[in-house]
Amino acid sequence: MMWLSGGFVFRRGTSAYHKLDPRVKLLISALMFVTTLLVRTIYELAAVLAFFLVVAAIATVLKRVARTMVFTLMFSAFIFVVNVVFTRNVETSVLYAVRFVAIVVSTSLFFITTSPDELEQVMKTFRLPRDVVFAFVTAVRFIPVMMLDTIQIMDAQKSRGLELDKGNIFRRVRNMIPVLIPLVVNSVVRSGELAEAMESRAYGAVPKPTSLVEYHTSARDKAVAVAAVVAFALGAYSFYFILPTQLL
């Protein structure tokens, strides 16, 4: 749970990166993602990952991203093992494992610097239906609330003698039931209350709702976007065409 909250929950920031148009932030993360797929040797991947961390540092979120990386190592170790067992190729297995970490880093960077409002803006740009966008944004808005609920439920059940950190894996999973059921029930009740509130504030009254805030893309945003594409193109070219021939 710490991994999820540390790596993907938005927190306000004041860096220039945070202030970028969310579509540009999405572009950057998407390009990062593709880059990790194009890279073919472990050295290049390490360089790319280092570059990601530099970007994270510029965005002042290095500590969080680094911590997410550490937590992700557990999963990537698992990927490494599976690959080694099936392909018997240590080098590519390491590559896949580290690639996984790099993918998580690039995605994490996007989510921790982009607020739910900005996510909404991005989704609207992609012309997703209003209901989908609204459901998503509302769900994200309630993530901190649900996290708090989970803690309170665990507190209540611990106070009835439930020991959450004892026993083998099966016991532990079974012990989650008294936590999961109230959580689910509360979510269902919450949805009902939200629906009432939505109706009472005329949701769906008009096919094209207006918006309080307007988003403009500044010249800086455009410049950064162009720079990102150029950097990507150069990187892709060198990784794909130049470096492999050099190594061979």
Partner: protein, 270 residues
């Protein structure tokens, strides 16, 4: 029984919720912890069963430091009724719900049966024995959570904001329940921002503000300190306000309306 020794607690986000709290609650006492929302009352409660551990200082329950034992063990002695029953009800039936804690605490099946039956009867929930706890009304759910706690017979019962969302009939029943717990020799701690409903119980009152204990004494005298209550944003019980407004009055404020009326009329007759 419960002792706080210079307890401070700082949340992960840096907010100091408790600041040097020292407090002793003896066995059999009835204590009301009052203060505005955010004064640290719930944080205080969570320290007792180890749900939160002090950043500095220590909390002792029956001589045992909460840092060296588990919440489950502490809960065997200290039953906490949290504010929201929907944060704990999950079983298929009311009787299963009541058996949950008993089983966790290791009671034998025969004893579990016995205690479940006793609890259901005491709280008038016998008719719902096989029903799902989730379909009960709000008031019934609150009674159920209380029944669950009393079934395992803890020495201490802590009620966290028990009157939130309750109507006057339910509040009266609650006062009755507190009286029952008292006569059973239990230590009762009620955390509430609503002192009015507790006034007839005449508990010892601990006033909290910004994580500190700013007042501690019997209700009858502490509720007279207007300045203190103002600072802590605690509202005086109406009968106390009435008492303080009278030119001639008895030594101590009225506990109930009848007493008030009797005194006023007698005083005028003299």
């Amino acid at each position: 029984m419960i002792e706080f020794r210079e307890v401070s607690f700082v949340h992960q986000n840096g907010v100091k919720a408790l600041d040097g709290v020292s407090l002793r609650i003896e066995s059999g006492e009835t204590v009301a912890v009052v203060g505005e929302n955010g004064a640290g009352k719930t944080t205080l409660v969570k320290q007792v069963t180890g749900l939160l551990k002090p950043t500095s200082g220590s909390v002792l329950v029956d001589g045992e430091d909460t840092k060296s034992t588990s919440t489950a063990k502490l809960s065997r002695k200290v039953g906490v009724a949290f504010q929201n029953p929907d944060h704990q009800l999950f079983s298929e039936s009311v009787e299963e719900e009541m058996a949950f804690a008993l089983r966790n605490f290791g009671f034998a099946p025969a004893v579990v049966q016995q205690r479940v039956a006793w609890g259901l009867e005491l709280f008038g929930l016998e008719e719902y024995r096989k029903s799902s706890p989730l379909v009960l009304s709000g008031g019934e759910k609150k009674r159920l959570t209380l029944a669950c706690i009393l079934a395992w017979d803890p020495d201490v019962v802590i009620l966290d904001e028990p009157t939130v969302g309750q109507d006057s009939i339910q509040k009266e029943k609650l006062v009755g329940t507190i009286g029952m717990l008292r006569s059973a020799g239990k230590t009762v701690v009620v955390v509430s921002h609503d002192i009015e409903f507790l006034w007839p119980v005449q508990p010892r009152v601990v006033v909290m503000k910004s994580g500190r204990v700013v007042g501690d004494g019997p209700a009858r005298t502490l509720m007279l300190e207007r300045g203190l209550l103002e600072t802590a944003r605690v509202v005086q019980p109406q009968l106390v306000e009435l008492y303080q407004g009278l030119k001639r009055r008895p030594e101590e404020p009225f506990v109930d309306p009848l007493e008030a009326r009797r005194w006023v009329e007698e005083a005028a007759g003299r």
